[in-house]
Symmetry: C2
Subunit: 298 residues, 2 copies
């Protein structure tokens, strides 16, 4: 049996996996994201034995961005303008392919997570469009339309949506280095830490910061519903693991929609509409393996 590789290339850590599907991951390793040279070398070493044995059919890369995903571009496969020191204009796709000489699929971490959640879960296969939103240190959105990740000029950047900001209730100016009080600037884990002086993990369940957080996430989801009319939304990431978050957000989404979108999924079955990731915190890596699975069939 042929094996597939998956790399979840995050700003904090890289996760590498080899396997064939979520039930058969042969080896998994994670290590901190240091310099591009060191980190890419370490990923290469992880996969090299499987390449040498002839078992590895393809690799998928699920990367932090922004990325150049335009196949006609001379910088296809590059991480473009990240604030992460040393990682701007890094040819992640080209380096991995050059080192390992197998077909490589390449997309954003969130597109890969969306793809994985749809690809590996039979009940999600027919749900189109399909959305994955992560709320962690940052906020990102992946979108699958007709079975393929949405690409255009670049890729979705809905983590930076402009949203209502009630300055009386929330005088925090926002923490996005580009936009200040965009969605990510108001509701990412980083912005919560900046606003409250403590991390989301340590913020007590009764702290009013949570109700504010639920409101921003719900407003973001409402805009995603208006934009794509998705058939399912998977809401993942570290902040979204806070107990009760999904239930509270579902309730607020319904409040904000005000009955405008006539669909029983929103009216009666929102518990089946906005869900935590079925693949847990492995959506990105297993999504990368799903992308590799498609790549080897090309």
């Amino acid at each position: 049996m042929k094996l597939l590789g998956g790399i979840e290339a995050g700003g904090t850590k890289f996760v590498c996996m080899v396997g064939s599907d979520p039930g058969n991951v042969r080896k998994e390793e994670q290590f901190p994201t240091t310099t591009p040279r060191e980190t890419i070398d370490r990923a290469t070493e992880f996969f090299l034995p499987y390449v040498q044995s002839g078992e590895l059919a393809a690799i998928g890369i699920a990367s932090f961005g922004p990325l150049d995903l335009n196949p006609g571009s001379p910088t296809y496969g590059y991480i473009t303008t990240t604030p992460k020191p040393g990682w701007s204009q890094i040819d992640l796709y080209g380096e991995i392919q050059g080192n390992l000489h197998v077909p490589v699929a390449f997309d954003t971490d969130v597109n890969a997570a969306a793809f994985g959640e749809q690809y590996w879960l039979p009940e999600n296969r027919s749900l189109d469009p399909f959305i994955y939103m992560t709320v962690g240190t940052g906020i990102g959105v992946g979108v699958i339309v007709n079975g393929s990740p949405l690409h255009g000029l670049v890729h979705a950047e809905a983590g930076h949506f402009a949203l209502p900001h009630d300055w009386h209730r929330d005088p925090f100016p926002g923490a996005c280095p580009y936009h200040g009080d965009c969605l990510e600037g108001l509701a990412s884990g980083f912005s919560m830490s900046s606003r409250w002086g403590q991390s989301p993990e340590s913020l007590p369940a009764i702290h009013p910061g949570w109700d504010l957080e639920y409101d921003y996430i719900a407003l973001a989801l409402v805009n995603l519903i208006y934009a794509y009319s998705p058939r399912r939304i998977v809401l993942g990431g570290g902040v979204a693991q806070h107990p009760g978050l999904h239930q509270a957000v579902r309730c607020k989404v319904r409040q904000y929609l005000k009955g405008y979108v006539q669909s029983s999924m929103l009216m009666d079955k929102i518990d089946e509409y906005i869900l935590p990731p079925a693949l847990g915190n492995r959506s990105g890596g297993l999504g990368a393996i799903a992308m590799a699975d498609c790549k080897q069939l090309e």
Copy 2:
């Protein structure tokens, strides 16, 4: 040569066309949207001679909404919950097909307009995703991904985006009957008339209401850019015909993006990125004919 029919079914008027393409419209008629019975009968009469002569191959309907576009639904082709008196739960698709017995394509007015602008303009064919936003009495957004209008639970409703609302600058509470100060509630022609006590057509060019309007439209476009990463945005509708609006909006879109999306289209060529409709105010009707053209080939 086979002929195609197009119906632009608006809340104020219906426009019916028969032809083969934008350069060959044989007959065109418009009449006010009164009762469903009377209006649908009038559309039927318009097309009947072409059906009886055997010339009409198919009809496209570009309708005001919200619509049921789910082919598996018992109410497929219905206008669902419109506030327009008498038009809720009207089977527009079924009535037209039942009366005329030709294949009928059915979509929202804005999806049809987006489809028409892409279908009939060779230079737009490869621009994917492709967006049409109308700012008129109301606000609507049509989206083409991979050559097809985007459908999901329902269809895009991005006219109701939640957006930043600076209450100091703009104390108007918004005019959307559902959401108050959503995009449509703040920036539609109806909301401008409500806020200023005069219609957009009569609002002087130096009135500060225009600068406010440009800001809301630009924020909406920024959210559309973050959501879809479209390769082109067509901005149409009566309000968008205000002289200088496109130029002012382009400038504000760039300001709000803050250089975040790395694309030469946004950085250097935004004049080719946000454009008025090439088909003028006939995008909807000619889009309906484009839909009919595809339908007859099915």
